[in-house]
């Protein structure tokens, strides 16, 4: 290859020239030699022979040289061709490399395009993902901050999700909704089970408190003369009453209502006193007002508990030595109980909050009350809401808070004045004594007059049959006493005597009449003044009750 650039230009012209020149030379040389031989042969044969030999050698050497030359030339040509081929080949390779380079260039450019395309797509995709993640995040935040509390409160309406299915991706909104449902369901289950166990435990506490009360009351009744024992039983009774109240508060806050019901109407002043018995400082409660306005049995217990909570609040938040005045008055729409305390009162903001609670406009459950005072107000509100009592709070002229409870007129009941036979609502075993004073002359059957008294219908069946015949004879006062004795003696010694033996004869008036008569008779013996009947009483005064002789004097007197 190295010599290839030199050889090609020299060879073709030389070849053409030498090819023609050489046969001429080969022809001319022997001729020249021959020409030389002839003269020499003339001179000397020997010289001619030698000359001829030399000439032959020269020719032979020339031939040999030519042969060598020819070989060298063909060799050179071959090499040249080879070089040519190689050069051509290398040319091809170069061209090919060029093509390859171009191709590579193109591919590279293409790759760049693709990368740019990919980059832009990547950027777009990332932007999309970021946007969607942001939407989902916002939706989850909204769910946690707004929708979940609303769902757990169970009173507010749950707001709609911010974004729809298409924005958030399939299933996200649905799963968020399912999460809300799952959380509220779990909370509900838990709350219900807590509520049930609280109610159950509170009921047990209340029952045991009532058992304590019953036990100590029975103990005091069994030893009536023991003042120390009575005092102790009072202390125990007081503690147990408060315990029962707290247990009942818990039940009320759990949405249960007191199962306890009273059988008789109770005067409002006594409702307040009964309520005062359920708080610590019952001696500080000072009740005044109309003693003959009462409430129907169905609201006695709720009202007692409601007032007790107000009194507890009033005594707790006023100076320990001060009284808590409570006033009962009748108004056009019912009756009002006012509880004043001489404490510091509440500022307007807290008063507003308390108003919402006590009026029942905002009902608190057991999970909502944190502290002791709010328990009381929450209980008040629950009772107010259920039974239609209107409870209002305001500043009191005594400096603290005045609580005003309006008892609606439809649960009010006018009681007969205290001490009159109808006023004392009598126990079920003794419904008849109302008869004599209500209708002394009319001799009406006891059922007819007892029915309006309210408690009598329920008590009616409880009257022992043996006690029934007695009432018709109570039209007059003293004969009733006699008749009971009469009946007692011949009557069979069966169960009926039990109530009659315990209960006194009829009304206090009858007993008083008899007693008065007894003493009048005994004392007025010497003067023997006013009535003609005294002479019959003089002798038999002491033992006249069993006899039928004495009915006359009282009739004469009355």
């Amino acid at each position: 290859m190295v010599r290839s650039p030199r050889t090609p230009p020299a060879l073709p012209p030389a070849a053409g020239g030498t090819r023609l020149l050489w046969p001429v030379t080969r022809l001319l040389a022997p001729l020249a030699f021959a020409a030389g031989v002839v003269p020499l042969a003339d001179v000397h044969i020997g010289a001619a022979v030698a000359y001829g030999a030399v000439a032959l050698l020269v020719v032979a050497a020339m031939e040999s040289l030519r042969g060598q030359h020819r070989a060298a030339v063909s060799d050179a040509a071959r090499w040249r061709a080879e070089a040519e081929r190689v050069r051509a080949e290398s040319e091809d390779v170069r061209a090919e490399a060029e093509v390859v380079r171009a191709e590579a260039e193109r591919v590279r450019a293409e790759a760049k395009d693709v990368r740019a395309e990919l980059d832009s797509r990547e950027a777009h995709w990332q932007g999309h993902v970021r946007d969607r993640a942001e939407l989902v995040r916002a939706e989850v935040e909204f769910t946690v901050m707004k929708r979940l509390p609303a769902a757990l409160s169970r009173t507010e309406e749950i707001p709609k999700p911010l974004h729809g299915e298409d924005e958030l991706g399939p299933g996200v909104a649905e799963w968020l909704d399912r999460m809300l449902t799952a959380v509220t369901d779990a909370a509900d289950d838990r709350e219900e089970s807590q509520r049930l166990s609280l109610v159950e435990l509170a009921s047990r506490v209340q029952t045991s408190a009532h058992r304590i009360q019953a036990t100590v009351t029975g103990l005091a009744d069994r030893y009536p003369g023991d003042a120390d024992l009575l005092e102790t039983t009072m202390l125990v009774d007081h503690a147990a009453t408060q315990q029962a109240r707290h247990a009942q508060s818990l039940k009320v806050l759990c949405g249960e209502w007191p199962g306890q019901q009273w059988q008789r109407p109770l005067a409002l002043v006594d409702v307040v006193r009964a309520a005062s018995g359920r708080i610590v400082a019952f001696k500080r409660v000072e009740v005044s007002g109309d003693p003959d306005v009462g409430v129907t049995p169905s609201v006695v217990e709720p009202l007692i508990h409601l007032i007790a909570e107000l009194l507890a609040n009033a005594t707790e938040y006023s100076p320990p030595k001060t009284g808590v005045p409570v006033t009962v008055r009748t108004v056009q729409r019912g009756a009002v109980i006012e509880v004043d305390d001489g404490g510091l009162g509440l500022d307007e903001y807290r008063l507003d909050g308390a108003r919402e609670i006590v009026s029942g406009r905002r009902l608190l459950g057991v999970g909502d009350v944190g502290e002791i005072p709010r328990t009381g107000f929450a209980v008040v509100g629950r009772f107010a809401e259920r039974h239609g009592f209107q409870v209002e709070l305001g500043p009191s002229p005594y400096g603290g808070v005045r609580a005003v409870v309006l008892v609606p007129v439809d649960v009010l009941q006018t009681l007969a004045p205290a001490g009159t036979p109808a006023g004392r609502v009598l126990p079920s075993t003794q419904p008849v004594p109302e008869v004599p004073t209500r209708a002394p002359a009319a001799e009406t059957p006891p059922e007819a007059t007892a029915a309006p008294a309210g408690t009598a219908p329920a008590a009616g069946p409880a009257i022992p049959p043996a006690a029934v015949p007695a009432p018709p004879r109570t039209g007059r006062r003293l004969p009733q006493r006699r008749s009971r004795r009469d009946e007692f003696e011949p009557g069979a010694p069966t169960a009926p005597p039990a109530p009659t033996a315990v209960t006194p004869p009829g009304s206090p008036e009858e007993a008083g009449d008899w007693m008065e008569q007894f003493f009048e008779g005994g004392r007025t013996l010497p003067p023997s003044g006013e009535s003609a009947a005294t002479d019959s009483a003089t002798d038999e005064g002491p033992h006249d009750p069993p006899s039928s002789a004495t009915p006359l004097p009282p009739e004469g007197q009355t």
């Binding site: 058992r211 009575l230 059988q263 007002g289 007993a511 008065e516």
Partner: protein
């Protein structure tokens, strides 16, 4: 909620310590179960703060009544009525007569006759 204790408790919403304002002893020790009570006449008005029990007691004692009978009518334990009655005696609304007057004590001979008669009945 109707345990055995409940019924016994249901006898009164007004607890005894409320009725006596926490006191277990009467202010005077002369009042016993057989003491006779009578309202002072002419009747004195009770204070407005008087309880229904006090009003009832004064009213039913317009005629002579023993403490134990008053307790039965009021459906209160005798020991509580003693406290109430004692207060009312202090305040001048009731008078207490203790025991049965001598004049009213029956003749022993008569009692003997009654006893003999009863024995003959057997």
């Amino acid at each position: 909620m109707s345990g055995p204790g409940e019924e016994a408790y249901a006898d009164s919403a007004l607890r005894p310590y409320v009725i006596t304002k926490g006191r277990s002893r009467p202010t005077r020790n002369t009042i016993s179960i057989e003491t006779l009570l009578v309202a002072i006449s002419p009747p004195r008005a009770l204070p407005v703060s008087a309880t229904r029990e006090e009003r009832a007691l004064v009213r039913m004692c317009e005629r002579l009544l023993s403490v134990v009978e008053a307790a039965a009518h009021l459906e209160l334990p005798v020991s509580l009525v003693k406290v109430l009655a004692s207060d009312l005696v202090d305040s001048g609304h009731l008078a207490a007569r203790s025991g049965v007057p001598q004049a009213a004590v029956p003749d022993p001979q008569l009692l003997q006759e009654v006893l003999d008669g009863l024995r003959r009945l057997r």
